[in-house]
């Protein structure tokens, strides 16, 4: 019997680039509406790992995935599943904000909705406003919704990308070092926003900032050379980790 509070259940997940294996059998269970931080040294496979969670990894030429990723009780790698729908439904935020160039703030947020068939203007307006509010950007842009998204500051662009991802009300949000290019104020905005999302969204965030992992996450997963070394409550992970390699890594002694 699967524990009913488990929302994402990752079973023996492996990933390759051509013949190079970069993830070797990851098992991880994530509860609904929690924040999980993924940490580990550069090149250990963090980005690859979260890109497997919305079937983005296989888009790279020669890339391959094996294993299962259950979202509730459905394996997203089941042959009957359309990867395009998965990518559309599981939002991803990258290190560098990537608003659609040449598109207004409004259209950036509305595009996903339009793609999924929303036509009614009033409904679009409502959803755009709601998403921008949830991403804590509304106040700053509400009078300039027709300005290009690329004209915003870096921190604002990142919040725009988050609003864009939230518009379609995804159950899961993947974030790959979302604040590494931002100043501390924009960073704290985004961190606060992550915490506020957990009423509806399960967040998986890759970060190199140990303090950020300990501030925002409920659980922390430590990857090393494509292996999951430790997956623990964040409060324990940063005060008394189980594995010596975790201790060495977070104290800068690995």
């Amino acid at each position: 019997m699967m524990n009913s509070s488990i929302f994402i259940d990752i079973k023996n997940l492996m990933a390759w680039f051509d013949t190079m294996k970069v993830l070797s059998g990851i098992n991880l269970s994530i509860e609904r509406n929690k924040v999980v931080a993924i940490i580990g040294p550069s090149g250990c496979g963090k980005s690859t790992f979260i890109r497997c969670l919305n079937r983005l990894h296989e888009e790279v030429r020669g890339a391959r995935v094996k294993g299962k990723v259950f979202l509730e009780d459905r394996d997203i790698y089941d042959p009957s599943v359309d990867p395009v729908l998965i990518r559309r439904n599981i939002g991803m935020i990258f290190q560098k904000p990537n608003p659609f160039p040449g598109m207004s703030i409004y259209d950036n947020v509305a595009l996903g909705l339009k793609l999924s068939g929303v036509r009614k203007r009033s409904l679009l307006d409502e959803k755009v406003e709601m998403s921008l509010k949830r991403a804590a950007l509304w106040k700053e842009v509400k009078d300039n919704l027709n300005r290009p998204g690329t004209g915003l500051s870096g921190g604002q662009q990142q919040r725009l990308c988050i609003a864009r991802a939230l518009a379609i009300e995804p159950p899961v949000l993947l974030m790959d070092e979302p604040t590494s290019a931002l100043d501390p104020i924009s960073t704290s905005w985004i961190e606060e926003l992550i915490q506020n999302l957990t009423d509806q969204v399960t967040v998986i965030i890759v970060t190199h900032n140990m303090q950020q992992a300990s501030r925002v996450s409920d659980r922390t997963a430590f990857l090393l050379n494509g292996e999951l070394v430790e997956y623990n409550k964040t409060s324990l992970f940063f005060t008394n980790p189980d594995d010596e390699r975790s201790e060495a890594y977070i104290t800068g002694r690995l």
Partner: protein
Amino acid sequence: MQTKFLDERLTQLKSLIASMGGCAEQMLKEAGLITFDKEVNREELYKLVQNREQEIDSLQIRLGKHCFRVLARQAPVARDLRLVLSIISINTALERMGDLSLNIAKKGKALKEDPLLEIPFEKLKEMFHQITSMIRGCLDAFINEDDRLAREVIIQDDRADQLKDGICVKLKECILANNDLVDTCIQLVSISEMLERLGDQATNIAEEVIFMETGRDVKHKKL
């Protein structure tokens, strides 16, 4: 590089604790001489104890500042974090120990002798040695990062409490035998209570060492 810097800071914090601990041990030793040794110049020794107490106070302030800075600037985690948190608590415990030893010295230098008090004095001396060894033990446990030794210190605390109870019984007998001894007996009870509190502080330090080493909080728990 970053870590080397942190390691240097942590070593510095530990050596400040070692200095404070050395000072506290020395103070207690001198308070003991004042109380139990008839040959010493009590007033002179007392001045020395007073000076050491001030030294501990200023070390406490310095150490507190250093800990604050390390927390703010290095944001240590895991064992490093536990070490700094333990040091903050041990810092307070050692400062209290200084105060207690000073008070023992103050009472000790005013004590009067009487043949009737020989047995309680002997018992008090035994308790004094017990507490001295607990303090030695908890400081060694800290320096050597030895949680087993810390556990032994905590276990010794029960014995110290028993000794104290025994002393109070004996002192009651003395008072009943000779009313003129009331004042001195009260002083002796008070010294035994301060020794007991010194033992409690040693226990606190030992508990911090266990926390630092294992991440387990053993306060108010049976070992």
